[in-house]
Symmetry: C2
Subunit: 149 residues, 2 copies
DNA sequence: CTGCATGCAAAACTTTTGCAAAGTG
DNA sequence: CACTTTGCAAAAGTTTTGCATGCAG
């Protein structure tokens, strides 16, 4: 529980509630907890992780189907990133810090985040050159980390 | 069947056979056909696609388990890229043309390839800065293509 | 109250694996 | 021949879905 954002959880949650009610959807404690776990987690969590962590940290049961439906919903309203690090499971993280990309160790599966303004800039240009309306992007660099080679 | 490489299929196949025999593995007609389909395809194929296309184009049955085992093998010997465009299926392409990345339309799922030297360069630096031995990378830009917005 | 959200269990998919049989070098 | 590879079917794992019930606005 030590992730640092430009925004407190309270502010984030308030904005979120406003946002979904504007869209005509209903909030629920399940959504709150999924959001909370994602907000405070330093990891990239799978749906299973999310459900387990909510149980572990808050002793609340959120069905796995609900987690899947919720992350899909979060994805549709564009507040979440999903990434597959190569093991056929989707992992999720909130899109609240500045955009970043990932370095993944192919041996120990450690994930390191990085960001690079120049690459961000280039990506915008590439989208523009191809007449794409840029929505999102993922970049994963695979390699062997320091400890593994 | 109009993909253009720096190498003919015959040359490619010969190199491949040499390569795997050096590694102590055996070739098979199944591997040949999987390679052939991938070599001549303009698309990013799923395992299912590969099996179906071999049946359709050459009327040869290659079990889906064999396709999965083979693409995994190809991945281990580093001659294939796999990518998940967001639909929980892996798609494969040979690593024979110069490296490129992908623009994916979130509406019609069209895939456009691009490459950018500057980004490639930056990626190398990022790996180096983090003491990673760079092996591979994937970058996907998601957006709405020209036809879809 | 209306209708979206949830939970459960079943279903749908994709991918992996065990084992006997076949094929390669 | 020895040993890898294949095919089949079963298993495993992830994600989706139908439906009755619950809950938010």
């Amino acid at each position: 529980m030590n992730k640092k954002y430009s925004m407190s959880y309270e502010t984030f949650l308030k904005n979120f509630k406003l946002h979904i009610s504007k869209l005509g959807f209903k909030n629920s404690i399940q959504k709150d907890y999924i959001l909370k776990i994602l907000f405070f987690s330093d990891e990239h969590l799978t749906a299973e992780d999310i459900s387990n962590n909510i149980k572990k940290e808050y002793n609340i049961d959120v069905g796995i189907a609900t987690v899947y439906r919720t992350v899909k919903f979060f994805d549709e309203i564009n507040i979440i990133n999903s990434l597959d690090v190569g093991d056929n499971v989707k992992r999720y993280e909130l899109k609240i810090s500045e955009h970043h990309d990932h370095l993944v160790c192919t041996s120990c599966h450690k994930i390191i985040e990085f960001s690079d303004d120049l690459i961000e800039e280039k990506q915008k240009n590439i989208a523009k050159d191809n007449n794409f309306e840029l929505k999102n992007h993922t970049m994963i660099i695979y390699g062997l980390c320091e400890d593994c080679h």
